[in-house]
Symmetry: C3
Subunit: 440 residues, 3 copies
Amino acid sequence: MQSNRNGQDDALFPNGVGEWCHAFARRLWPIARSLTGAGTRETLRLLSEELPDLTVHGITSGTDAFDWTVPDEWTIRDAYIEDQDGIRIVDFKVNNLHVLGYSEPVDTWLSLEELDTHLYSLPDQPNAIPYVTSYYKRRWGFCLSQVMRDELKPGQYHVCIDADLSPGVLNYADLIIPGETDEEIFLSTYICHPSMANNELSGPMVTAALARWITSMPDRRYTYRIVFIPETIGSIIYLSRNLETMQSKVYAGFNVTCIGDDRCYSYLPSRNGRTISDRVAKHVLSHIEPDYQSYTWLDRGSDERQYCAPGVDLPVATIMRSKYGQYPEYHTSLDDLVNVVTPRGLAGGFNALQRAINILEQNVKPRVTTLGEPQLGKRGLYPNISAKGSADSVRVMMNMISYCDGEHSILDIAEILNEPFWELQSLMLPLIDKGLMEIT
Amino acid sequence: MQSNRNGQDDALFPNGVGEWCHAFARRLWPIARSLTGAGTRETLRLLSEELPDLTVHGITSGTDAFDWTVPDEWTIRDAYIEDQDGIRIVDFKVNNLHVLGYSEPVDTWLSLEELDTHLYSLPDQPNAIPYVTSYYKRRWGFCLSQVMRDELKPGQYHVCIDADLSPGVLNYADLIIPGETDEEIFLSTYICHPSMANNELSGPMVTAALARWITSMPDRRYTYRIVFIPETIGSIIYLSRNLETMQSKVYAGFNVTCIGDDRCYSYLPSRNGRTISDRVAKHVLSHIEPDYQSYTWLDRGSDERQYCAPGVDLPVATIMRSKYGQYPEYHTSLDDLVNVVTPRGLAGGFNALQRAINILEQNVKPRVTTLGEPQLGKRGLYPNISAKGSADSVRVMMNMISYCDGEHSILDIAEILNEPFWELQSLMLPLIDKGLMEIT
Amino acid sequence: MQSNRNGQDDALFPNGVGEWCHAFARRLWPIARSLTGAGTRETLRLLSEELPDLTVHGITSGTDAFDWTVPDEWTIRDAYIEDQDGIRIVDFKVNNLHVLGYSEPVDTWLSLEELDTHLYSLPDQPNAIPYVTSYYKRRWGFCLSQVMRDELKPGQYHVCIDADLSPGVLNYADLIIPGETDEEIFLSTYICHPSMANNELSGPMVTAALARWITSMPDRRYTYRIVFIPETIGSIIYLSRNLETMQSKVYAGFNVTCIGDDRCYSYLPSRNGRTISDRVAKHVLSHIEPDYQSYTWLDRGSDERQYCAPGVDLPVATIMRSKYGQYPEYHTSLDDLVNVVTPRGLAGGFNALQRAINILEQNVKPRVTTLGEPQLGKRGLYPNISAKGSADSVRVMMNMISYCDGEHSILDIAEILNEPFWELQSLMLPLIDKGLMEIT
């Protein structure tokens, strides 16, 4: 049994895992990602620099995947609104949220009245640029702050979206990290959102950090399948090509999203709700933040919709910080790397998922080797047991021993005692050392 | 899968099912029903006019049925108390509750003091004539309002009960409406109470309306066994003659009683408490009236006592409006067709049972035909889905789809989502139409 | 089925079982019991006078038992502290709690400062002599009230503990009372505490009374295994010598301790928590004292720690009055036979355990012999049924009958109806008498 690892002080992340993720996110921030296109490919290329074994795949537009079809590839080069004086008042190069995702090309002059039907803003958040897409219905449009919109004067405007929407490829990537068994732990995150931080740069950043940590793990029990995909269509494509393997191999899994702000922790269950992924997620969060926010399957909204769909039914749960749709900056330009996502928030998210993975790796069934209680006194195990008050620790240790019957796993015992898995592990070490406990 | 039917606007009940029941009840109101006798036969004859396939049975007095024996037949022709001036101050012909049910004959003069031991009234409800019977111990008596009783002056009174209590027959009726399978849905109601409305004319009236509606159903899955019996002794006789068949065939059942006032809805479970009848009753009531009154098996008091007895154990639950014993007019002359039972109350009771039967008939296990979520957008299924707010409906539809795995029935899903069965059915129709959902 | 017995008015205990226990406790009070030694042997000898079939065992010091070793025998003859004037200011012969249990011998002069490190008192309970032992680490010491300690003046003191701590034997006793089957009910109590009353003379006293009552039972279904042992080491030794037999035979069991004060009732579960012993304990206590104190396995502290240890797993629960560690006089000289343990308290504890044993003996599965409800009226079973309000009793009787299906035990039914087992038994007697109910 290995002790709990802490990525923060690891040689892998010299300035801490939170800073590592945040620095990487700052590099990816300006790239104009979407379901498809050059921005997404550039994002995957930069991920490959950190994860050399990452394999990038491309699927041709028009390919069928379950009930869906791979859409045309979107190439966006420039997009702006100019006024009659030739002044660019809305400019994609200033903020790539300004263009409605998957806009068809346009280059024309319009009156303000005509233009207005193509504008998106948020009256309740007047300084935010909203994030809007139209993947499956052809449209064009611009997103801007309500403040900017209110300043537009009657007159003619030149709108230009220099884009292509035509057959190409959709890209995604995966990484298989082998372990002692071919049973898999599955991590999925998405890479289709442009310049926003909690939803979504936090997801691929923390997943990349986890992949680096997992790769460095000396004695992995499980094989890890880690995927970076565009949301929805990407998970559908991935499942359509890997379903049989995944159904036979995946033991546990997490969808990694919205994992970078420092406000709360959140849990969203699998459809089944009682998988090992669900138990582990709830256990970790209940001890990291007892008041964590618990959602239901009916609150879902990300790739768990595909991973847990009828007939798919993978054991995928979700550990988040502030959940998509539940924080004010969600899907706007305000979801940034300054005020929302912080190194500390990213480190917390990494820590929660790392603890969950450690539990999955280490959840053995201990058995006390004596009949009746062991006599701890003669072995000097009563004092100096742990950091907590000694009497409390002895009580927890005796309670733990009373359940070490070879039938309860450490997680079972941790749930019964309402003590953290990792604290029970540290109480077990001296007992194993003295031959009083064995692992079955 | 058939759509939900609504008896109210059916050709079967041109003025509405509530008015149909109420009008029929008004015809049956004056008849002097009891466990046995001419009044009960006349009641069954009038029911047969509406339900031509009804079979009337007669069992000879003295016949054994389980632990019970069919009692003598009671024939009541007249009953009154006259004062010394020959004035009828209590008269069975004015209200048939005035004579204690199953009174033995008497014709004599008594002092007020002697008479008083044979009188029954309710001090707390001074205007109500109570309903009192003595089926298994020979007595005679008169029931009257406390107001009438208080006006009786000392003196001699002539009491006359012109009745026979002698071997004859006990009558009941049943109706078998065949369906695709010989599995049965069982409905039982009782016809032994004289002029009272919620307990009991509401029971046989709503049952008769249900029988008419079931007969008109084009594609019944189940066979229906519908019985009109005197309470307790009737259900014991019926079981003693049909137990083996019923134990092998009855899939679900309801005891139909107290189903006509418009105050509340009530549920009383089967002994088992977890039968399909119980689940359906609770589901219907929770969506018709979320604050419905829920009783326990320990509150029982009608024929479920026999249908759910040890060794009988039929899956019989009870859906009521105001439960017997729980409303002030219960078992008195105040339980009438004016202030207590109304067309609207009867229609509500009919509707609850009709919905329960529809669920039993239609509770299939739907399965989504795609892997992963279906793409609703390309099929135009996102907008115009239902009457509710569109976003809510899309959310409910997506939640429903997420459970359509061929293992959950519609009722299972309705319980998980806390949505009415019938609303999920209407959301399913376009999906079935587009080939996205199939029924297993 | 036998009726409920009440030890209080039995010929076995002419002055009541509480007084019998209390009188016996007064005889045992002055004896200096410990894990081993003459006091414990004398205690077992006096128990044997009341329980002639009791077998006393002796195990040699140094014998291994599971993870433990039988300690040396402790012989204590005298112990005191004298001041410079030769006055005995602390004297074992006045109260045997004054010497720390298992003190090694000492005979020397010390300054008050040196003496002080060997003194034990309770500042918060200044009049109480604490009970302190050091079985597995060699020490010597004196226990005294804080008031006495505060009066000690600087100076020299003569301390003398005239004791031996050397190889000998550890004694315990058991009693097997055979029944119709060789399935066993197991009772365990401990006899290692000197002059204290609730913890522990109440335990062996009530256990002795139960043994006398059980012996007098004419038609025992179960065999009884009753043990009197020193706590912890005694149960470990007993298990190490009887584990296989006990694991195959013991159907239910109770650890009998802290059973003599008259303040509250308490329940501590087995590790499993759902054994028949647990169900019976909770049922009895919920009807004797609805507000009884319920503890969890994590609050354990007596021999259940061994009986329910992993790999042992006997179905042993604990019924107590005030639990060890939870009443102010616990483990002090204040835990006495005057203010804490009373005849009434002992009788209550005996009564709870007696009822539990009666339930275990008599928990059959009754079956009503009729189909449908029996007709109680014709058998005169409606009136004069029990002491309670007649209508309530009829209601309880009918509810009970409705569950007498040969599948529910009396305890099952008592739990469903929330009525005492023994009241259901008395309602059953006339039904059995009339042939309406049979026992399966």
